[in-house]
Symmetry: C2
Amino acid sequence: MTTADKINALRASMRQNNLDGFLVPRADRFQNEYVPASDERLAWLLGFTGSAGLALVLLDRVILFVDGRYTVQAAQQTDPALVECVQIGAGLSYQSWLRDNLRPEQQIACDAWLHSQAQYQSFAQACQQAGAALQNSENLLDALWQDQAQAPENPVVAHLQQYAGQSSADKFVAVAESLAANGVDATVISATDSVAWLFNLRGSDIPYNPVFGAYALVDAAGSAELFIDEARLANEALDSLPEAVRLSPPDEFEVLLERLGEVNASVQLDFSSIPAAIAQCLKAGGAEVVNAADPCVLPKAIKNSVEAEGARQAHIRDGVAVSKFLYWLDNDRPQAATELEVAEQLRHTRLQVAEQFGVELKDLSFNTISATGENGALPHYSATPEHDCRLNTGDIYLVDSGGQYLDGTTDITRTVILDELPAGELANEMRDRYTRVLKGHISLALARFPQGTSGNQLDSIARYSLWQGGFDFDHGTGHGVGSYLCVHEGPQNISPRPNNQALLPSMIVSNEPGYYKAGAYGIRIENLVLVIEQAGGERPMLGFETLTLAPIDRRLIDAEMLNDAERGWLNRYHQRVYETVAPHLSDTEQQWLAKATATI
Amino acid sequence: MTTADKINALRASMRQNNLDGFLVPRADRFQNEYVPASDERLAWLLGFTGSAGLALVLLDRVILFVDGRYTVQAAQQTDPALVECVQIGAGLSYQSWLRDNLRPEQQIACDAWLHSQAQYQSFAQACQQAGAALQNSENLLDALWQDQAQAPENPVVAHLQQYAGQSSADKFVAVAESLAANGVDATVISATDSVAWLFNLRGSDIPYNPVFGAYALVDAAGSAELFIDEARLANEALDSLPEAVRLSPPDEFEVLLERLGEVNASVQLDFSSIPAAIAQCLKAGGAEVVNAADPCVLPKAIKNSVEAEGARQAHIRDGVAVSKFLYWLDNDRPQAATELEVAEQLRHTRLQVAEQFGVELKDLSFNTISATGENGALPHYSATPEHDCRLNTGDIYLVDSGGQYLDGTTDITRTVILDELPAGELANEMRDRYTRVLKGHISLALARFPQGTSGNQLDSIARYSLWQGGFDFDHGTGHGVGSYLCVHEGPQNISPRPNNQALLPSMIVSNEPGYYKAGAYGIRIENLVLVIEQAGGERPMLGFETLTLAPIDRRLIDAEMLNDAERGWLNRYHQRVYETVAPHLSDTEQQWLAKATATI
């Protein structure tokens, strides 16, 4: 079937159902950041393979909404005769488009399993404002998609106490207490990292995130029901589950929702993550639905002492791997090496170093961003076999990567000059921008702040030096990171966007200011940091312990621009990198690292 | 009547009306920050004279809610046998107390003219959560208060175009456009500074704020009705009003509300400031009430070029006055001078300098905080004849004051060491804390930031240096300031409290970090700054122009703690102070100022 055939078939199905429009999101039934092949509906229907987007198929037009990252790609991958690409952001949202462009009486439908309740409600409101209406329907696209893959059902394994640090039973007690405090009977949890955290289980249904797709019910008495095919769980995983957990087949989940309705249960749901279908089914059946934060999100973000120590260990071996890679990049990189080849070298080094430490690299924590020259100026650049550039002398090369280890998840960005700085004014400019980014990174790394301070309040600290020069960067300064879980997790972050969540002791967050010059180069310096208590102040203060261990390219630093405190941090950091990493390197690598971490 | 008599009389009245409780706020019908004598109900009923508080008179108890500033004062001024003082803040709000302490079926009443609609709604909800109810009633207290003063009706004068910079007619056009854009018929404006700004009128009903009490109606066609006794307006003021303005007697205001109801008008109200009585009367009468920001607040905050230039001029003469005062403090202060005497000297100097410049000091912009030694550690300290301390050598003295001039409102805090630093470690400590406060002040003064940045995002910049030492301060870093209007105005501020309002070009805001050591001393360094565009950046950036001009005490600065950028700012600032202020000083004052502003 061609794209036109598919669109026509979908429209025929829409007409049969008296529908004027059908929404196709890039989402699965768990609102995962990465989706399995079975949920790549935008790729199947329109050929668009970006990681975010939403299509609205109307009877006379097809709109593909994408954000600024995918404007070019969407235009390249779709046929303009069939598809209109619309860029959202900066004043235009899905909602405002629907409100301003739908016509009165239009009937729009979507598969409510693929939209969060919050998103569904905002779409429904936008439709209503246009005089149109949104309704839930069968997935008309899936009915046409003959070779749609099965949803993955990979094995699920136990995440052992030696890594998790807290038993699943203890986690249930805490969640049950929070439900009781909220006066509700139960909650349905759909976020896959919350389920994995709560049950101390891990999976491999999707790349990079060691999670599995299964809804869970937890009640205020601390009992839990996990809707998953029992055959997916290894014996060890089955044995690890607390007594309070019952396993039920996935097809019994809707029966449960009906039962909750029948007894008029009050059920807490997190509207930002729960599929709209679940909220609607519960409401329609007679349950009382209460919108409140997923009770796993905050305790998951606050690492226990075992997880914090695991993170330290994971970052030592990850730092060894990245340091060996940077040595290779400087000394052994083939002349003709491309971005993908270099990324593969980094992956290979992580695998080897993990083996050297006697552990396993389970996966990368996201698709490596390996970007040279002007590609580095695209913050979410992804090299492909079709667009894979050679690393050239004088380029600034940016590599943002991470690993999944049983004891922790890593995420590090290093930006280096390849071989030697270009001649003339450009070198001064590069050093100026790099040093401003570094000053922001260090100011944040050195920051102390009172208990109760949010990442939102700290964000400007990482931007101050760039701002002074009239520069800025268009992404957040930091995101939360899981423990052998998702590399992006909430509720905390460090961002200009309002977020009142305080940074709490033992949260992990990234520190990654950057600078991007379109058509020229990109700079980002990213370490993960652990929030720690800082004794000795007049008030209880918090601060950061830097976890990531790899050299920061001294060739790009203008030492004159650093003040004493900044220079002190850099030298202490580099000393720690050397002392921790060098013992695991060869002699030549050690000599290189000594220079790369020398006092400035 | 004794306090007990008054409480008993109020309770008798409550019983007659089948009420279990009556709320007595410290507020007038315009939610002014300062209230006239006629609205000092807490002082009349309970003897409490603080500037904020709320009493709940129940049949068996009287609760006086105060915030942390007034805990001690409330306990001192009230009889514990009659009144229970309850401190709100840090987890306890009026609302949470009502919810947790009222009993089912209790009928609580209040005078809905004295509460904003937002406050009334939150109180009503809290009562409901307790199973009790809130209702609007006649003011039972006023009915008992035999010698209650008349509400002030002082003359109202024109605020001339040469100071206002924009005609009232032009302001009506802009407000009408915003009402039309919101799809409403009209708005009622109750905030006195909004009314004064919109009509280009000024009054003197309350101290410090040159406003007058009068509600106004503006409709989407740009017509306006001001409810005020015409006799209060001088001829010049009458002549200044645009044609679109009709004056109506205050007692016709309720007739207007009824009329709006009868025609089912849609009326925009700002629930954060509008008296609940107005919202309720409109709703009950049949009007549609829409909650939206007072349309005067944002344009009032963005100064036009005439107001901005007026602010510069006002700050020159205010800087001359403060500099002369600081000279006097250093050289001519009597040995036995007290906080009140010194504050009076400052007021007198402002009067004299205004005369020297050929203009008038209309008023102070707030009650001067003149605090020596440990009194400075109370951020809202106010010396009284009963508690008026002598300034002693070696004390840190803090003075926070401002003037009202026709062309601008000023607000400045200077903190100085009296005569000489104390011996030993204490001097080092004082210099350390003072320099940290100064570093925060300078970092903010030097900040550039992208368009769209809120003060909330910038707040941490002023705290970073204090935080590094384990210190902090418990107030916002900055507040908006009016143009010959209120010294505290919104919508912008610089504060840890979430506020998404971007800082926009030509807003005025204070920059006033501090440090307070209980029982010892307080430090605050405050300048007003104007938001300006900063050309030359890669992106459109904003920054600050410092308006305030007076020396910052060099004796308390540890120059070693300043980096080059900070030292550069201080020296440039002091040079500007000298060049601007010195021509208006005597020779001896000039010599002193030269030393006080010498390069560091």
